[in-house]
């Protein structure tokens, strides 16, 4: 219990002493937090660089997030623009380009709370889809922010299904211009970030029409605001789409185009062009388009999504050792809420998940870098696998992190619900990732489509890529587990996951096949199997994540202590997954009912094991207090003082409300005489 200090007021929240409950947790760590941080960063050098970058950001008051929770949408937007401008200055001072690792750490330190993120997508799309001349013309302008770009694809009535987009670009040979139009209200561009208030230019995706014929979707650079006074260009209606669940700092916008003309050269022409006479030319494969999507997905997982879960775990685990509630043993003090099994069951599997996903993402990055090089060289062999892997993982990782952040929020009781805990912000932000960059259900089905193809290849005796090679293994025999200890053997649980993934896919594929053979059209059959196919894709992704966690732990041989605790986390992640989906594993009798009781027992025992390292495990994520921006999750654990101090800063406490004079006072009249 925090006592009032002598002056009757609190210490300032920057005090150095740590709450004794937190301090005690840190003393008993079974491993070196610093070394684990280095493992997570991919080396101590990276940790140093990252911390240096974070220090640059935190030293500068422009990047302060102190007022964030109290700001209006307009104020948040203005702060984000100001930060983007300052960030650009910093980068120029240091001569850094976007692809430097330091820049990545900058974005991570800012937690995405900065404007002009889509400006980068604008640039990337020109680099990927533009001709050399177009790149030479537009990129320098964009680099210097002489123009600010956005990427306008999604429409009010159309999202993931690109062919359904309705915006048109019609070529006129006489003027050598494209005329862009929004034919109806559902065709308005809707949602692009930086569009509402900032962007001067946009890469607009529109159906290309030449001489009455439609050639499908193509990208065009369209100026939407004057570079002189920032007013909308003629024929352009543009604005902000209004308040959202989060992302208040971003001006997600709408865009309506009425006979807006642009020169022929503004169609991005690396893969297709319209010649002056109206001839449509297509060259090369536009499969590289997929690469832009893959890049964006891989990046968002690293910058936004996985850190959200790690931060949520940090806040809720630290709070759970400071918060005390009820008594576990009569006569003792109230217990830390992390000592309750039910609280451990909420948080510790999430902590294991945060680690599992971190390692998964490290693998994907490696896999992706290799694929990227090959694809740039024109070898598209790895593209389908890369696309399927990143689709499924984007979906499952955003699902995990969103659900996990919400559990962390609720695990902090009432205080989690306060904006000052930082958890509502983390949750509402990461929640958007389930739909942006591809709706998760659609993405799971893309992975499923790939898996069904691979399974067919296996049946036909053809070779399969490494990530799906397991489909060709036989599925005979049963799990031989006899004791709880057997369940802590990675081979055992990996095989259980493999069998489940394999079975769910085979069942779904067989059902699909049966429907087609019974005369159903393929797309009808597909739709009737989608619930099963989504389950199969999820099971596949879970198997991959478990397998990768096991592989990662095995490689930690020269970090014995870290390897040991990571092994526990890996076990916990795997067993929790089985415990939460018992039916899947019991269904074909691979695991028996008695064995399942062992799973439960083993899983619950692991909670107690990991409990003692919970705080060091979140400390190792190494988030600064500024980065967490949470009254509950700060390193020093002075939860209650911070809540009280921060609440004082609320604008609701700083102004006299008109509500009293206007509405309450008349009600209160007449009470004086009676009291």
């Amino acid at each position: 219990m925090a006592q009032w200090n002598r002056s009757g007021y609190f210490r300032s929240s920057v005090s150095r002493d740590v709450n004794p409950d937190l301090k005690a947790e840190r003393r008993t760590a079974s491993f070196s937090v610093e070394r684990l941080t280095a493992v997570l960063d991919g080396g101590a050098d990276n940790t140093r660089t990252r911390r240096a970058m974070e220090a640059v950001i935190h030293r500068d008051p422009v990047f302060s997030r102190e007022k964030q929770y109290f700001q209006s949408q307009n104020e948040r937007y203005e702060a984000a623009v100001r930060k983007a401008v300052r960030l650009k200055e910093k980068m120029l001072q240091r001569g850094w380009t976007e692809n430097r690792p330091e820049t990545k750490y900058f974005y991570r330190a800012l937690g995405g709370d900065v404007a002009f993120n889509v400006h980068r997508v604008f640039k990337n799309s020109i680099l990927a889809l533009g001709t050399d001349e177009q790149i030479a013309k537009w990129i320098p302008l964009a680099e210097k922010y002489h123009i600010i770009g956005t990427y306008a694809q999604t429409e009010l009535g159309h999202g993931t299904f690109l062919r359904g987009l309705e915006t048109t670009a019609t070529f006129d040979t006489s003027t050598q211009e494209f005329t862009l139009n929004t034919p109806r209200i559902s065709a308005m561009k809707w949602w692009p970030g930086d569009l509402g208030r900032s962007a001067t230019h946009a890469v607009v995706f529109a159906q290309l029409y030449v001489k009455g014929e439609c050639y499908g979707l193509h990208p065009f650079i369209v100026q939407i605001r004057s570079l002189r006074d920032h007013l909308p260009a003629p024929g352009v209606t543009v604005g902000d789409i209004g308040p959202k669940m989060n992302f208040e700092h971003i001006d997600n916008g709408y865009l309506m185009l009425q006979s807006v003309t642009i020169p022929r050269e503004n169609m991005l022409g690396r893969f297709s062009q319209v010649l002056p006479d109206g001839t449509y030319v297509k060259r090369g494969s536009d499969k590289i388009n997929y690469l832009t999507m893959i890049v964006t997905r891989v990046e968002m997982l690293w910058v936004e999504v996985i850190p959200a879960l790690q931060k949520a775990c940090t806040i809720s685990v630290r709070y759970s050792v400071v918060r005390r509630q009820s008594k576990l043993n009569p006569g003792e003090a109230e217990a830390k809420i992390l000592d309750y099994q039910t609280q451990q069951q909420k948080l510790l599997p999430l902590l294991a998940t945060a680690y599992a996903l971190h390692f998964m993402n490290a693998y994907v990055n490696k896999f992706y870098s290799k694929g990227y090089t090959e694809i740039r060289e024109g070898n598209f062999d790895s593209l389908p696998e890369l696309h399927a892997l990143t689709s499924g993982l984007k979906a499952i990782i955003t699902d995990y992190c969103t659900a996990g952040a919400e559990v962390c929020l609720r695990a902090c009781g009432g205080h989690g619900y306060s904006a000052l805990s930082g958890l509502p912000f983390l949750y509402t932000k990461v929640a958007a990732s389930c739909t942006y960059e591809g709706d998760n259900t659609v993405l799971f089905l893309q992975t499923a489509r790939y898996l069904v193809k691979c399974l067919a290849a296996v049946h036909a005796g053809q070779p399969t890529p490494p990530s799906v090679a397991y489909l060709s293994l036989t599925n005979s025999g049963k799990c031989w587990v006899r004791t709880e200890a057997d369940l802590l053997k990675p081979d055992i649980y990996a095989e259980a996951y493999r069998r489940r993934a394999s079975r769910l896919l085979s069942t779904a594929a067989a059902k699909l096949q049966a429907l087609i053979q019974s005369g159903a059209e393929e797309y009808v059959a597909w739709n009737r199997c989608t619930v099963q196919l989504v389950q199969a894709a999820k099971a596949h992704c879970q198997y991959i994540i478990v397998k990768n966690f096991i592989d990662t732990v095995e490689k930690l041989t020269n970090e014995a202590e870290i390897q040991k605790i990571m092994k526990h986390l890996c076990d916990l992640f795997a067993l929790h997954g089985i415990f939460s989906n018992t039916g899947d594993f019991l269904h074909d009798g691979y695991i028996s009912g008695d064995q399942m009781d062992l799973v439960t027992a083993s899983y619950l025992d692991l909670l107690a094991v990991i409990r003692s390292d919970a705080v060091p495990l979140v400390d190792a994520f190494d988030f600064t207090d500024e980065n967490l921006n949470s009254a509950l999750g700060s390193y020093d654990g002075h939860v209650y003082q911070r809540l009280y101090e921060w609440a004082q800063k609320s604008p609701t406490n700083q102004q006299v409300s008109r509500a009293y004079e206007s509405y309450l006072k008349p009600l209160f009249q007449g009470a004086l005489s009676k009291l």
Binding site: A2, I185, Y254, N329, S418, A419, A431, T530, L643, N653
Partner: protein, 661 residues
């Protein structure tokens, strides 16, 4: 009206109006509800800008204005029945809350139930007249569900016949009470009573906190708003710190416990009496779970029939997204759940009123079970609805994330119910305590009654997985009554397993609490299974009350879907206990998908039957007429960022930067 929605409504196999009557509890009640709603709709004074465009302070002001107006209008119209007041208010409030909420509920209730007659005579007229506005200050910054841990003290001083109130630590500051920050001038404060040097535990006191006339905090009182939250922007949840603040002895609520002028403490008779209020409030939360989920389903299902996306059939126009199996799988089980929870809410309310009669006659026999059950059902329904609302939002893709969808508002307003009035895990464990107690009773040869009576079977037949597996055909997956039995078996198996594990832990160590803690995951599972059984049972029972054949048919499908979907999500429990075979589980999966297709043509009519007016729904995506896109555009134009064509950030930051680069 949007063509798609028109077609959906035309193709319904039943008359939604009849279902509405059923939900309202009779045609007459539907009529009266609509009459009351119309009073609000036709009153221009209740109209205001979308709160999503306003700052917190502005929202608070709108909310206070509305609260004051509601008070006037209700009096003007002579509306006094609790249901009617509720209908009126929810139409005014939509997804939002009123800062005076606790005044009307907890504050007034506490005065009515815990005051002596003399105290009532003094305080109730002022309360009804809103000359005092009160809140209920129980939760502290460092202490929530565990009431004994509260630290605020009230020390009796016989010399002046006053109580001295103190917040001795930071953690003891009252934190969270609604309406405390800026609105209330009184609070009922719960504090540890000290008299004659002894602590007598938690008691309630009436404490003035703000000056009459100026509304300034009284000397010794520090009060304010706790800052922004996930939702509840228009609510001034507050903090309260008291330093040697004195109140007269008569300000302790003394219907049960008393402090005599000399400081002598007189104990209350029974502590079970407060159970009644708790049951009532939990039944309200169950009802709220149902309604919030009903509203989210209405929005998501209407939007899914207006929204078109991708191709099902090559060359054909893009289909309604509600035609995708994955979309149906997300939404229809939730729709079924919404109907199921509606039954549960109605049952609890009815039972509460029935039992209240008994309580007043001194018969408390049913109270412990109802109290235990209400805790679990509160947790079960609020957890499910909480997840379901988010599922509905995500099923609306990107647009669900926009505030114009109304879904973020429904979610953030609803989700705190997982923690307030008893944190859900703690609630589940309360139910578990009752279940274990009943199990122990049965084991020692006594019979138990009520919803737990299935435990009586355990002692006789000792369910063994093998035994049950030997009669796999016992469960008929198309028969709701048979599914109720299946859920019952699952619950008894999990209660038994938890009770046995608890016993095993107790055999190993001395501490009861420690053993309980080490079994708590099992115990929560047992409670969940018990609650799930109760919900399936109540939903199934309601089918027999439906007279109209067409309504009965569609509700039977929903009830089956609810039961089978629940099994499909917990197949492990049913397989492990041998209640269902592998082959039956495969059938369950298949049957769930068939039911999705069967419900599809009635989906829109089923949400129409909830009969939410657009103003109450507060959603552009869920509009009755389905004209969503043009209205999204109209809504967006009102966004604060669009107040000027060129935002000031351009002049302040962008232009200077461009000049520099």
């Amino acid at each position: 009206m949007n063509q798609d929605l028109r077609k959906e409504r035309a193709s319904a196999s039943f008359n939604p109006e009849l279902l509405t009557h059923l939900l309202d509890g009779g045609a007459e009640r539907t009529r009266r509800r609509r009459e009351i709603e119309a009073l609000v709709l036709n009153d221009p004074e209740f109209q205001h800008e979308d709160l999503n465009f306003l700052s917190r302070s502005q929202r608070y002001e709108v909310a206070i204005r509305k609260s004051a107006l509601m008070v006037m209008r209700l009096r003007e119209y002579g509306i006094a029945d609790p249901d009617e007041i509720y209908w009126f208010k929810r139409m005014c409030l939509g997804s939002f809350v009123e800062p005076l909420g606790l005044h009307f509920s907890m504050f007034t209730n506490a005065l009515q139930n815990q005051c002596t007659v003399t105290q009532q005579d003094k305080w109730l007229p002022l309360t009804y007249g809103l000359q005092i506005i009160g809140t209920y200050a129980q939760t502290e910054m460092g202490h929530g569900t565990h009431l004994r841990g509260l630290e605020t003290t009230a020390t009796y001083d016989p010399a002046t016949q006053e109580f001295i109130l103190n917040s001795p630590t930071v953690t003891s500051i009252k934190w969270w009470p609604g309406g405390l920050g800026k609105t209330s001038n009184y609070a009922i404060v719960l504090a540890q009573l000290y008299t004659q040097g002894q602590c007598k535990g938690l008691h309630a006191f009436i404490v003035p906190i703000r000056q009459m006339g100026t509304h300034e905090p009284l000397p010794g009182i520090t009060v304010g708003d706790i800052g922004p939250k996930f939702g509840y922007d228009e609510m001034d949840n507050g903090y309260l710190k008291m330093d040697n603040f004195r109140i007269p002895r008569e300000n302790m609520l003394m219907k049960y416990a008393k402090v005599e002028p000399d400081g002598t403490y007189v104990k209350p008779l029974s502590d079970k009496l407060t159970y009644g209020t708790m049951v009532f409030i939990r039944s309200l939360i169950v009802g709220d779970s149902a309604r919030s989920l009903c509203r989210a389903c209405t929005i998501a299902i209407r939007y899914s029939s207006v929204r078109h996306q991708s191709e099902l059939t090559p060359g054909e126009p893009e289909p309604q997204i509600l035609d995708y199996q994955t979309q149906q799988y997300k939404l229809f089980p939730l729709l079924a759940t919404a109907y199921a929870f509606h039954c549960v809410g109605a049952y609890m309310k009815k039972t509460y009123h029935r039992i209240t009669g008994d309580i007043n006659q001194g018969n408390l026999s049913e109270l412990p079970e109802l109290h235990a059950l209400s805790a679990g059902l509160k947790a079960f329904t609020s957890w499910t609805a909480n997840a379901g609302i988010e599922e509905c939002r995500m099923a609306c893709g990107g647009h669900g994330y926009s505030r114009c969808s109304g879904l973020p508002d429904i979610y953030v307003t609803f989700t705190p119910s997982c923690t307030y009035e008893g944190e859900n895990t703690v609630m589940m464990l309360q139910t578990a305590r009752f279940l274990v107690k009943s199990y122990t009773q049965v084991s020692s040869g006594q019979l138990v009654s009520g919803m737990v009576s299935y435990l009586n079977d355990l002692s006789g037949q000792r369910i063994q997985p093998q035994q049950v597996a030997a009669r796999p055909t016992a469960v008929l997956i198309n028969d709701p009554a048979s599914l109720v039995e299946a859920y019952k078996l699952r619950a008894s198996r999990l209660v038994e397993a938890a009770a046995k594990n608890l016993q095993a832990e107790l055999n190993r160590r001395k501490s009861q609490e420690d053993s309980w803690n080490r079994t708590s995951v099992d115990l929560v599972r047992a409670s969940e299974a018990h609650c799930h059984y109760v919900v399936v049972k109540l939903f199934t029972a309601q089918l027999s009350e439906i007279n109209d054949a067409a309504v009965h048919a569609v509700m039977s499908n929903l009830c089956l879907l609810y039961a089978l979907y629940g099994i499909s999500k917990h197949t492990g429990d049913f397989l492990q206990a041998g209640i269902l075979t592998n082959a039956q589980v495969t059938q369950v999966y298949q049957r769930v998908k068939e039911l999705l297709a069967a419900i599809r043509p009635n989906a829109v009519a089923l949400v129409d039957a909830f009969d939410f007016h657009d103003n109450h729904l507060g959603s552009v995506l869920g509009r009755y007429d389905g004209n969503i896109y043009e209205n999204m555009f109209e809504w967006a134009k009102k966004s604060p960022l669009n107040k000027t064509e060129v935002h000031e950030s351009f002049h302040k930051h962008l232009k200077p930067m461009q000049a520099k680069l």
